[in-house]
C-alpha cells in the first residue's frame, strides 16, 4: 500500500535531490553531459559577484518581508477576532489574495503600480516606475508579496487567539491591567508558539522567492532584484550550465535544510 507513494516520492523528490549534489561536482551542460571537476564550481561560486549579489538581495527581501508579514498578520488577526457580524467578511477580504495565482497577482500589481496610468501613482500624485526604479523595485516586490500572502498568517494567528481563554482577560481586567499590559502579559506569551512558527515558515518560504521577482522585474533593474533561485534558473536555462546551476541549488538546499532543522528542533511540529 505504501508502494505507489514511495515510488513517486523517491523518483521525483529524493533522487533529484541526490542528483543535484552529484551534478554540482561536474561541468555538465543542461543536457547532463559533462565531466567531474571536483570543487571547481564551489570555488567559482565563492568568487562570483553575481552570487553574492543574489544572496544579498535574497536577504534584503527576507528583511523586508518576514517580520512585517508576521507582525501585520498578528495585527490583522487581532482586528478581525473582535468582530461579530463582519468577522467572516473581513477575514475573507484578508485571505482572498492568497488564493489567486501568482501571475494574476503580479499582472494586477503591474497595473496598480503602472507608472503612467496606475491608480497608486494617480492617488498619491507620484510618477514612480515602481518596478523599474533601482531603489523601489525590491520594496515594491515585498509589498506585493505581503498583500498576497499575509492572509495565511492571519488564519494561523486567528486560531492561536481563539485558544486564549477569556477568563485570562477577565482576570487581568479585574486586576486593572491596561490593554497594552494585557497584550504584553496575556496575549503575547500565549501566541508566541504560533508567532515563532509563522516566522520560520516565512523565512523558509522567502528564501525560495522566485515567481514574483521573475514576473515583476525579471531581476532588474541592474540585477537589483536578482535572487538566488533566479540566478540558478538563469545559469541553468539561459547559460546552459547545469553543473554550476546545481551548485547554487545545493547552497539553497543547505540553507533550507538548516532553517527547517531549527524549526523541527525548536518547534517540534511532529514531535511524537
Amino acid at each position: 500500500m505504501v508502494a505507489p507513494f514511495v515510488v513517486v516520492y523517491l523518483w521525483f523528490l529524493i533522487y533529484p535531490s541526490v542528483q543535484v549534489l552529484l551534478m554540482s561536482f561536474t561541468n555538465s551542460d543542461i543536457a547532463g553531459r559533462g565531466n567531474f571537476v571536483g570543487l571547481e564550481n564551489y570555488t567559482r561560486l565563492l568568487k562570483d559577484p553575481l552570487f553574492w549579489n543574489a544572496l544579498w538581495n535574497t536577504l534584503y527581501f527576507i528583511l523586508l518581508t518576514v517580520v512585517p508579514n508576521t507582525a501585520l498578520g498578528l495585527i490583522m488577526a487581532m482586528m478581525v477576532i473582535r468582530l461579530n457580524w463582519a468577522r467572516r467578511w473581513v477575514l475573507a477580504a484578508f485571505f482572498l489574495p492568497n488564493i489567486l495565482p501568482v501571475s494574476v497577482v503580479t499582472n494586477l500589481w503591474q497595473w496598480l503600480l503602472d507608472q503612467n496610468f496606475g491608480i497608486v501613482n494617480y492617488l498619491s500624485k507620484q510618477s514612480i516606475g515602481w518596478f523599474s526604479d533601482p531603489v523601489w523595485a525590491m520594496p515594491a516586490v515585498a509589498v506585493v508579496t505581503l498583500w498576497w500572502t499575509v492572509g495565511f498568517n492571519v488564519l494561523l494567528f486567528m486560531a492561536a487567539l481563539q485558544g486564549v481563554p477569556d477568563e485570562l482577560y477577565e482576570a487581568a481586567a479585574l486586576d486593572g491591567a491596561s490593554s497594552g499590559q494585557m497584550f504584553r502579559y496575556v496575549t503575547w506569551p500565549l501566541v508566541w508558539p504560533v508567532t515563532s512558527l509563522v516566522l520560520i515558515l516565512q523565512l523558509i518560504a522567502q528564501f525560495k522567492i522566485f515567481d514574483q521577482v521573475y514576473l515583476l522585474t525579471s531581476g532588474g533593474p541592474f540585477d537589483k532584484t536578482t535572487v538566488i533561485l533566479l540566478l540558478m534558473y538563469r545559469s541553468a536555462f539561459q547559460q546552459q550550465e547545469g553543473g554550476y546551476s546545481s551548485t547554487i541549488g545545493v547552497v539553497l538546499l543547505v540553507i533550507i535544510l538548516v532553517a527547517s532543522f531549527i524549526q523541527s528542533r525548536y518547534l517540534g511540529r511532529f514531535r511524537s
Binding site: 500500500m1 505504501v2 505507489p4 507513494f5 513517486v8 516520492y9 523518483w11 521525483f12 523528490l13 529524493i14 533522487y15 533529484p16 542528483q19 543535484v20 543542461i30 543536457a31 482586528m79 473582535r82 468582530l83 463582519a86 473581513v90 475573507a92 477580504a93 484578508f94 482572498l96 489574495p97 488564493i99 489567486l100 495565482p101 501568482v102 501571475s103 494574476v104 503580479t106 499582472n107 494586477l108 500589481w109 497595473w111 503602472d114 503612467n116 496610468f117 491608480i119 494617480y122 498583500w147 488564519l155 494561523l156 492561536a160 512558527l197 525560495k208 522566485f210 514576473l215 540558478m232 541553468a236 546545481s246 541549488g249 539553497l252 538546499l253 533550507i256 527547517s260 523541527s264 511540529r269
Partner: protein
C-alpha cells in the same frame, strides 16, 4: 459590567476601521474586475472612473477569440483535478499502512517522509528537468503532474488523523473477514471525510496556482497551464490593461469560487497544512 459610553464609541470606531481596512485590502481585486469590464481606451483616462461606464465585455471576447486561454483552461482543469485525486489516493494508501499495518522499515520510511518536508524541490530543478527530458515528458500532462505528487504533506496529515481512529473499529471489520482495503475505504476514509474535503480543496487550489513547475516543464504554448499562459498574454498585448485584467479574472475564477463556497474547509485545510488543528 456596564460598558461606558466611551468604550462603546471606541469599539464602534475600531470596528469601522477594521471594515475599512478590509475594503482597502480587497480593493485591488475590485479594481481588477472593474478594469476588465472597461474598454481599453477607458482604462487610461484621467481621472480614472471607479466603476465601468459603460460595462464593456470586449476584453473578454477578444482574449477568448485571440488567445489559447480556453486551451490553458482545459490543461489547468485536467492537471489540477488529476493531481488532487492522485495526491489523495497515494496519501490515503501510504498513511493507512503507516498508521495501521506493521511492515519492515516502517519507522525508517516515516522518517524519510518527514525529512522530505525540508527538501525544497526548486533546488533540484536541473536534475529533475533532465530526468523528465529523458522520459520524454517535457510538454506533457504527465510531466506537469508527476513531480507534484511527491508531496509528503497529505501523507503526514492523514496519518495523524488515522492514528486517532479507535483501533476496535478496524479490528471488528477484520474479524468479519474484511480486507485492509475495505477497512480503509469502508471505515477510515468515511470517518475522515472532513479532513479529506479540506485537503482536496487546498490541494486543488495549490495545483491550480502552481507556477514554477509548469513554467519549467512546458514551453509549448498549447501545453501551458493558466498561470503560465496568462503571462504570455500580457507580454503579447503590451499596455492593454483591460485585456490583461480580463485574463486575470478568468484565471482566478475557479479558485475564488472554490474558496467562497468552501471557506471553512479552506481554513481547516490551511490549519492542517501548518500543523495547527
Amino acid at each position: 459590567m456596564k460598558k461606558s459610553l466611551w468604550a462603546v464609541w471606541l469599539g464602534g470606531a475600531a470596528t469601522l476601521l477594521t471594515v475599512l481596512f478590509g475594503l482597502v485590502w480587497v480593493f485591488p481585486v475590485y479594481w481588477m474586475v472593474v478594469t476588465s469590464l472597461k474598454a481599453d481606451t477607458d482604462t487610461i483616462v484621467t481621472p480614472p472612473s471607479f466603476y465601468p461606464n459603460p460595462v464593456d465585455f470586449s476584453a473578454y471576447t477578444y482574449i477568448v477569440q485571440n488567445s489559447p486561454i480556453l486551451h490553458w483552461y482545459v490543461n489547468s482543469i485536467v492537471t489540477s483535478l488529476l493531481i488532487t485525486f492522485l495526491v489523495l489516493i497515494l496519501a490515503l494508501l501510504c498513511a493507512f499502512a503507516l498508521s495501521q499495518l506493521d511492515f519492515p522499515g516502517k519507522g525508517w520510511l516515516y522518517w524519510v517522509i518527514l525529512a522530505g518536508f525540508m527538501i525544497p524541490f526548486q533546488a533540484s530543478i536541473v536534475p529533475l528537468f533532465l530526468q523528465m527530458q529523458k522520459l520524454g515528458m517535457v510538454n506533457t500532462y504527465a510531466g506537469v503532474i508527476l513531480p507534484q505528487l511527491a508531496a509528503p504533506l497529505a501523507v503526514v496529515i492523514y496519518k495523524q488523523f488515522f492514528d486517532q481512529v479507535p483501533r476496535e473499529l478496524g479490528d471488528a471489520a477484520r474479524i468479519d473477514g474484511a480486507s485492509e482495503f475495505r477497512v480503509l475505504f469502508g471505515i477510515y476514509l468515511p470517518i475522515n471525510w472532513n479532513i479529506t474535503w479540506a485537503l482536496a480543496i487546498v490541494t486543488f487550489i495549490a495545483a491550480w496556482n502552481n507556477f514554477f513547475w509548469p513554467f519549467i516543464i512546458t514551453n509549448n504554448t498549447n501545453m501551458f497551464t493558466i498561470p503560465v499562459g496568462i503571462t504570455q498574454v500580457q507580454s503579447a498585448y503590451g499596455v492593454a490593461y483591460a485585456k490583461t485584467m480580463a485574463t486575470a479574472v478568468m484565471a482566478s475564477f475557479p479558485t475564488v469560487i472554490a474558496y467562497l463556497l468552501f471557506q471553512r474547509r479552506v481554513t481547516e485545510g490551511v490549519m492542517a497544512t501548518a500543523g495547527i488543528k
